[in-house]
Symmetry: C2
């Protein structure tokens, strides 16, 4: 069956290999819900399933059950989901993972790739709306973003991880014959090279965008032979619980041990993260989450290796533009997108104190700031658009932070836009907020010099355009940053920005406006995170993301020379 | 000139790519001094040069000079070399490295590979005997081993690192065009992908085998755009000082900043290692040395990444043999080779208590131990053979350890062979010792359960063959181990050994006897270190050894569509 799966999915896999090599646009999946086969039916079934799951135990048979946990609250209803998930004894999960590993590690590369391609296809065909609904009611994403960003795009990132893993593994041949003279003797050795998985991988998924990072991490570990223990954020368990359940089913169908993938759930009151990272059997940690805990993980995981994505200040530098309104519209849209609860959302806008150059002359900084505020404000004033763009606020802590930053912003700058709830047209109890926008000066690094998670933006006055670039890239180097956006009509300035951001390690987008979200990161094409600044140490997905998840062990012995060869020489 | 170098060395580089892919036997270099062009002349010049260098300052122009250091003592004469090397201010070296990096990072892959291939060729053609002589009189290797192991084989490991680095870098295209519809709009982006070096690499070289690990590490870092600060062991500076001087010359000839490679020297009294590892500009650490400091480096280098090779217990399991004398001869030779001062030297022999099966019947354990002792003893009794095989003892501490272990061995087992100096035929004052061989029981892990650096071996009685394998691989997992050797005529036992050593992460050699040293690791073919046990975390040389030395930063912007294309569509 598993060989069948490899052959079945091989055309898609080979097409994905092309895409990774060429880095052009491609996906085997319908990018929009409207293009999905019987989307309405699938969505209706997902909603029925979700309604039926609420208030009920989640059926996940895995070993070591010691109780139940569940504290999810829908950002759209602000009511508990009431789903009770199995709480597992950690040591039992590790032991089960260790026992499951040898047969999976011994399987061929084709077998493992086939099983994991089947998983992704199964998630797409049978569980996409179920997962999208789960993401919506845990992370607070809009239905469209949950479908695209947490659904098909995340599946694409998963395939991409498989392509990279396969490439790294194929670089090692299965065997070789080696022959050399030593003195008068000829030594002929047959060598076999075995790819050995590093060991149990712990995958931390984050609260606001669980699948997009976790799926490629899980697939990178599994493709290279490692079992995975998934540690969802207690606020967003359901998407990962569904993933784990489907993966376990597919593994069993393929004849492998379901315990290659299990879920280790904890609670906000009693977090398990440190225990999982420092468990004596942990060999790989994939971490998406806060910079603070991420730093701890990076420092304390040894001997496990760590692949992290944390957070930083994503920066925008406005030097000169052709169409200021188009640029501000694009910025406003992107700063509103999912209430800036994405690791790629822009937060800090650095502008020359004198203003931004346009074909109609210099537009003063205050005016640019006001027009940006107006563009953002107009989104918050249209409930349907706000619902589509801003969606909901994942955590009540973000509302606290908004209050706190509004006060700090008033003290260290000027509040251009104060946050307020907007009325969600479909969910009247939704936890929502329009963005906070503060105008300040580059000296106020205490205000803007870290990720302020949520719909919070800063317009930062700098001495001039060169100073804006210097300040922005210095902030990225010091505080981290994943994405960066530069607007300039001056090719010399653009070249300087490309150099400065390359050194700072942020993925740069230049002069983009229009309907594509500025922070959209395309699988197979865009590298996500550079590892060059504090915002994370790993990239989705390059060879470095996969090559150290397995090791190479060899065995060599004197060759038994073929009798027919010996005959021909006599 | 640099483009010329790439073209000039391209056939050799492409041949090396084939060898890495096929992992067969290949080298562009003369494996034996006798095959080297005008070897006698080259050797004479090297010896004259060495004699002239003794007692004199070493000419190495590098920035930040704050004094001179030099404490090398030749193991062959036990006299100080009297060479004074420049001692540098560390911060100055880091600053100089940072300044040197951008132009090197901006060079094409071809340019960097060309420069580094030229370096290796230059080392071979102009400095091979100079380096071999330096290795001999610092590490204590025999002339032949210094030529082969520390010379041509190390050069081959260097080329191998370049091949892997090139493969990892080529996996990322320089640019792509990406096109996708968003709503009714078509977004066309041109993307460029830039490979950005991680930053300053610190390369620790060890005392007994400095070039073999350091050269591939340095070349892996340099190929991917990083500057390197070399930290030689204070006892073995000369080989690395020559390397650094030649590299700086070649870099300057190619138009680059010499400070891409500098040397940070310290003394035994005032070691610099921790400061170098934790310097705020350190981004990569390559470490070869003790398990104890290696563990510290692995734990404390963050945010720098670490590639380590430390030490462990290399194990031998004797189950059954066809020709016991041939096997014991091969083991004796390999245990004597360079007085077992190699990270690959076997140390622990695990035997069934009942003895070893042979075609002539079971040979009791005591007899096997005695015959092994006799085979080792016979080497020590022939001064010419002893000089060729045992060579000299690098450090006086090893003689202390031999005394201490002899006492411990007598207490926890039986001393089969007591160490004693042998008379070196060429250097009457050479620091030498024949091996210590102790017979003991598997319960005495306090005796044998760690690397005992130097010519020290243990014959360990186990319950039976299965128990011997279990104990040996458990020891590798717990204490580390790079190589392993199994002798068995039972294919079931061999298969079990392959599985067990694959899990333990030691590179296995089966049923080998004859003239090839059992622990010979061939460039392009043998992987060295697995990273699966405490003996090191990196392998020479796989993609994981190179892929994270650089990062990928991208820049994307709306495409300017070609006018001719626009014309053809109107």
């Amino acid at each position: 069956m598993t060989q069948h799966w490899y052959e079945q999915h091989r055309p898609r896999f080979e097409r994905a290999q092309d895409a990774c090599r060429e880095r052009h646009c491609w996906s085997p999946f319908a990018e929009m819900p409207g293009l999905y086969p019987d989307a309405a039916g699938a969505q209706a079934r997902a909603q029925q399933g979700f309604a039926a799951q609420r208030g009920r135990p989640f059926a996940l048979e895995q070993p070591g059950r010691i109780g139940s946990l569940g504290e999810e609250v829908s950002p759209y209803t602000q009511e508990p989901l009431g789903i009770a998930y199995p709480q597992a004894d950690i040591d039992t999960l590790f032991d089960a993972a260790e026992r499951a590993m040898p047969a999976w590690a011994a399987a061929s590369i084709e077998t493992r790739i086939g099983v994991l391609m089947e998983l992704l296809d199964r998630l797409y065909r049978e569980h996409l709306f179920e997962i999208a609904t789960a993401v919506m009611h845990t992370a607070g994403q809009s239905a469209n973003m949950a479908y695209a960003g947490s659904g098909v795009n995340a599946l694409d990132r998963g395939i991409e991880a498989l392509v990279q893993a396969e490439q790294a593994m194929r670089a090692v041949p299965a065997q070789a014959r080696w022959q050399r003279g030593f003195g008068s003797a000829e030594i002929v050795l047959d060598k076999t090279y075995r790819l050995v998985p590093r060991g149990v991988a712990v995958c931390f998924a984050c609260a606001s965008f669980p699948t997009w990072n976790a799926w490629p991490s899980m697939l990178a570990s599994l493709a290279t032979g490692n079992p995975v223990i998934v540690k969802p954020h207690p606020a967003s368990v359901l998407p990962m619980a569904i993933t784990v359940r489907v993966l376990r089913q597919v593994l069993v169908e393929a004849g492998f041990d379901a315990n290659l993938v299990t879920m280790a759930l904890d609670s906000t009151a009693e977090p398990l993260g440190k225990r999982l990272v420092q468990h004596p059997l942990t060999r790989i940690v994939d971490f998406t989450g806060s910079a603070r805990f991420g730093q701890w993980v990076e420092r304390h995981a040894h001997p496990a290796i760590v692949f992290s994505e944390t957070s930083g200040c994503n920066t925008v530098v406005l030097e000169s533009v052709v169409d200021l309104d188009a640029v501000l519209r694009a910025l406003a849209t992107t700063m509103c997108l999912f209430s800036a609860q994405m690791c790629t959302s822009p937060q800090n806008l650095y502008l020359p104190r004198a203003g931004v150059r346009t074909p109609a002359g210099l537009v003063p900084l205050d005016e640019v700031a006001q027009r940006l505020a107006a563009a953002i404000d107009s989104i918050g004033r249209e409930p349907r658009r706000a619902a589509m763009l801003l969606a909901a606020i994942q955590s009540p802590q973000t509302l606290d932070l908004l209050r706190q930053m509004t006060a700090q912003g008033a003290a260290a700058g000027r509040v251009l836009l104060a946050p307020r709830p907007y009325a969600h047209p479909e969910f009247p109890n939704a936890r929502t907020s329009t963005p906070l926008l503060v105008q300040t000066d580059k000296t106020q690094r205490g205000l803007y010099g870290q990720e302020r998670f949520g719909p919070i933006g800063f317009v930062i006055a700098c001495d001039d355009a060169a100073d804006a670039l210097t300040q922005a890239t210095a902030d990225v180097r010091e505080f981290g940053g994943l994405t960066a956006f530069v607007y300039s009509q001056d090719e010399t300035f653009i070249a300087a920005a490309e150099d400065a951001y390359a050194r700072a390690g942020a993925q740069l987008t230049i002069n983009l406006s229009g309907p594509m979200p500025l922070n959209f990161a395309a699988a197979y094409s865009d590298f996500h995170v550079t590892g060059l600044n504090p915002a994370g140490n790993a990239s989705l997905t390059d060879l470095a993301f996969v090559a150290s998840r397995f090791r190479i062990v060899q065995s060599r012995r004197p060759a038994v020379l073929q009798p027919e060869l010996q005959e021909t020489t006599t």
